[in-house]
């Protein structure tokens, strides 16, 4: 059985030194054109990404059952309030099966940016969302510039720096 032990050890070292393995997973990457979508919003009307060409757009995929998503939203709301007049738009794309739950949570978190309902998960599949939450920054030309999976405290500072840079273009 010592050979199995040695095997496990060798395999783990191999995996550790194989960063390329992570790249095997498909992911949406910066430089690509942001896939278009049209979704129903909380206000009732349909919003589409194409309408906001010329503005810097942040697309944040979230769900009511995702802890880090709920933590992040007030910080994103602060960014929206600060930069919306400079040409910044934020879409909160929700993936809950019941849009009523999303509407209620957005109200509780006092979010002012548009909430879109992706109940049939088409936009999530287009953007190959592989973590919840996922934040995508799209520049004025409709090109994806940054993709951030997950949320940890402090990410909002990184987003702020990226947004300011993109607004200056």
């Amino acid at each position: 059985m010592r050979s199995v032990f040695k095997l496990c050890l060798q395999l783990s070292i191999a995996c550790l030194l194989w960063p390329g393995a992570a790249a095997l997973a498909s992911e949406i990457a910066s430089g690509q054109a942001a896939p278009g979508f049209t979704l129903k919003s909380l206000s009732g009307k349909n919003l589409s990404l194409r309408e906001y060409r010329g503005q810097v757009v942040m697309i944040n995929f979230w769900a009511t059952w995702c802890g880090p998503c709920r933590q992040e939203m007030p910080a994103l709301n602060a960014l929206y309030e600060k930069y919306r007049s400079a040409g910044f738009m934020l879409f909160g794309v929700n993936v809950d099966a019941e849009s009523a739950n999303a509407a209620q949570m957005a109200g509780k978190l006092k979010v002012s940016y548009p909430i879109l309902f992706d109940t049939d998960k088409k936009a999530s599949a287009l953007y190959q969302v592989n973590t919840m939450p996922m934040t995508v920054l799209v520049d004025r030309d409709g090109k994806i510039r940054h993709v951030q999976p997950g949320y940890r405290a402090g990410y909002e500072d990184k987003y702020q720096a990226q947004i300011r840079e993109m607004l200056r273009e």
């Binding site: 032990f5 496990c8 550790l16 194989w18 019941e98 592989n130 999976p149």
Partner: protein
């Protein structure tokens, strides 16, 4: 009857180093992450009443997260035991006893690995138990699989309230391995294995065995190796319910084999009410050195009903009320009431008061408040 030699100490510890290497190594290439446990505070009152024993007391649990990386928890648990149980009533007089247990734990989140360390100290007038536990849980394959490993080390000091000169110890070693796998959007299965080794004074200084009706001190082996394998499955029945099924098989070096099976049904009755219904079946056969009444003296003799052949059925449920409005610093708050009724039926342990096989019913109740922040 041939003398039963002490069970040999089989090496129970598998290839941990290799497995740990595999787990830590895989983390470098994994696609999705893990999260810290939820922050919460729970306060509970628990109650047990059965077989002449009543145990009540409070329990508290608080968990707080820091910097998205660390989670600290503290717990307190107390039992106040008023006992006139069959063991006590037939060989001694009723007593009152208090046991308190303090626990502290720390969880550290590093990418997709959650590492936990915890310490528990339990003390009563004649028994002190200290336990140190280490666990690691690793998310793999985009979070579809979670592999976990754990180790616990316990050190107990056993005393005798009737004999101040008596003092002995127990060393406990526990090894855990678990795999959790998401099968579909609504279905998850778990497989768990745990090996436990005890070494030291493993019986109670107060209990006696019987040889042809006469009371004699119990003699236990100084070691016990046990293993358990459990399979669990949870299936969501959208949009409001879930079903859980569990089965565990246990066996040890005292020749005991036990089966545990449990089924539970959870359902959201309305926005505020959640109910659970559950049934648990348990059966075991007796230890090789157990007898209700020995015909002659042996190397090892036990008359603990815990080591006899018996079955139990537990039927119960839990009702949860989620408060619809609460202070803004709370994310969620619930009030819960749980009740189980257990029937114990012994095949080869007799009630010396009646001469018939012993059986009793027990009521278990829990009332607790949970706050999430």
């Amino acid at each position: 009857m041939a003398a039963i030699s002490a069970p040999s100490r089989r090496a129970v510890c598998p290839r941990w180093a290799g497995l740990a290497g595999l787990v830590v190594g895989l983390h470098g290439a994994v696609c999705a992450g893990a999260v810290l446990p939820e922050e919460r505070a729970d306060a509970m009152y628990h109650y047990y009443d059965g077989g002449g024993v009543r145990v009540t007391g409070p329990a508290l649990l608080v968990r707080k997260n820091m910097a998205d990386k660390l989670s600290v928890s503290g717990s307190y648990y107390a039992d106040t035991v008023s006992s006139a149980s069959i063991d006590v009533v037939t060989t001694a007089s009723p007593f009152k006893e208090k046991r308190s247990e303090y626990g502290a734990g720390v969880d550290y989140l590093y990418s997709d690995s959650l590492m936990s360390l915890s310490l528990t100290k339990s003390s009563e007038s004649d028994y002190v138990a200290d336990t140190l536990s280490m666990d690691i849980a690793q998310d793999l394959f985009g979070g579809m699989t979670t592999v976990s490993m754990g180790y616990s080390r316990g050190k107990d000091t056993v005393r005798d309230n009737n004999d101040p000169t008596f003092s002995d110890y127990v060393n406990r070693y526990q090894y855990r391995l678990g795999v959790s796998q998401i099968l579909t959007k609504t279905w998850r299965v778990n497989l768990d294995y745990e090996a436990i080794t005890d070494e030291g004074f493993l019986n109670s200084p107060y209990r006696s065995a019987r040889i042809l009706g006469a009371a004699v001190p119990e003699q236990y082996p100084r070691t016990r190796d046990s293993q358990a394998v459990a399979f669990r499955t949870v299936k969501s029945l959208p949009p409001h319910s879930a079903v859980r099924l569990e089965y565990r098989y246990f066996w040890d070096t005292w020749a005991i084999a036990a089966n545990t099976a449990e089924a539970a049904y959870n359902r959201y009755v309305s926005t505020a009410w959640l109910m659970e219904l559950r049934y648990r079946y348990y059966s075991q056969n007796s230890a090789s050195f157990y007898s209700d009444n020995f015909t002659q003296a042996q190397n090892f003799m036990a008359r603990d009903k815990e080591l006899s052949t018996f079955r139990s059925h537990a039927l119960g449920g839990k009702l949860t009320y989620a408060f619809q409005s609460h202070p803004s610093f709370l994310v969620k708050s619930t009030l819960n009431f749980a009740y189980d009724r257990i029937r114990f039926q012994y095949d080869d342990f007799t009630d010396v008061r009646t001469g018939a096989p012993y059986a009793f019913d027990a009521n278990v109740m829990q009332l607790f408040l949970s706050l999430w922040f």
